[in-house]
């Protein structure tokens, strides 16, 4: 049986269990395999914890390695924060079941002059995925990435589309977190407020559906 991206057969897509039971029930068994899904939530609603759960359960329950692309906290901070959940992140990194792409803010003084792309970020994600033979990838959070290049939202949208397409081609199941400033409003985040619907639909297209109810409260 064959089906294309747009023929509305999202229900037949294989599902990747997040391991968060209540959530998996809500979204027909889990996230669509080989697609990118955006999870939006208000600040402090647990987006990073949910994203980490997706990776941690993948490793601990389903034997699927993961890549954590962090735009906010450093890998060390994530490791410390998650120790409370009983996840030994450092051990998984040593065992090559988890890899970080550390894109957290650095002290470097940086300016933009002329055109650019995010090929370096994509290459780093693909390299990390290859190193651990990853099946799952988390990008946390898009708001911080947009903040980093705050004057260039157009380039960012184009590049994010490119990144999610490339990850999809590699068969990776991608979870991206994004900020929304109210529980039922439009998905928004600092730096891409005006353009957020495009962003959302771009990523929704990647996942073939809007992952109804895919908020990070669970």
């Amino acid at each position: 049986m064959t089906h294309t991206e747009d023929d509305g057969l999202a229900a037949v897509l294989e599902r990747v269990q997040t391991g968060v039971e209540a959530f998996d029930e809500l979204v027909m068994g889990g996230l669509p395999r080989g697609r990118a899904t955006v999870v939006g939530g208000t600040p402090g609603s647990g987006k990073t914890v949910f994203a980490t759960q997706f990776l941690a359960n993948g490793i601990a329950q389903f034997n699927e390695s993961g890549v954590f692309v962090t735009f906010e906290e450093s890998p060390k901070e994530i490791e410390a924060n998650m120790a409370g959940f009983g996840w030994d992140i450092a051990r998984w990194v040593r065992e090559k079941r988890l890899a970080f792409v550390d894109a957290s803010p650095r002290a470097d003084d940086e300016i933009v002059i002329g055109e650019f792309d995010l090929a370096a970020l994509l290459v780093r994600i693909l390299h990390a995925a290859e190193t651990v033979r990853a099946k799952r990838v988390v990008l946390d959070s898009l708001a911080q990435l947009f903040d980093h290049f705050i004057a260039e939202p157009k380039i960012l949208r184009r590049e994010l589309f490119r990144i999610s397409s490339a990850l999809k081609r590699s068969g990776l199941t991608v979870l991206m977190t994004a900020e929304r400033n109210s529980e039922y409003g439009e998905i928004t985040a600092t730096g891409w407020r005006s353009s957020s619907p495009t962003m959302w639909s771009c990523c929704a297209t990647c996942s073939s559906e809007r992952s109804a109810g895919a908020r990070s409260r669970f």
Partner: protein, 98 residues
């Protein structure tokens, strides 16, 4: 704030393969090289060939020109279209043409 003149010039240009942006950045860098102090070091890193160096240096965007003579490094993202601004940002006083 303008940096102190005399900071060592230790440039690393991170590019991704042979894209149009990579080509423009290389051309602009080579135009600029005549103006750099004689002690300047210039290296080109293709992240497609050496992804682990992009990871170690925390590079997200290409092209990125990093001046590792500063601690922490000073970085310019983009194809370096404006050479004067690049030199100014790195505190480089252009060398007189021979």
């Amino acid at each position: 704030m303008a940096p102190q003149p005399g900071t060592p010039v230790d440039l690393r240009l991170y590019i991704a393969g042979e894209s149009a942006g990579a080509r423009r950045a290389r051309e602009n860098l080579s135009r600029m090289s005549k103006l750099l102090p004689e002690t300047a070091r210039v290296e080109i890193v293709d992240v497609l060939l050496e992804p682990e160096r992009a990871e170690a240096a925390g590079i997200l965007a290409t092209p990125t020109l990093s001046n590792d003579g500063f601690d922490p490094p000073r970085r310019i993202v983009g194809d370096l279209a404006d050479v004067d601004r690049v030199l100014h940002f790195f505190g480089i006083v252009p060398r007189e043409p021979d």
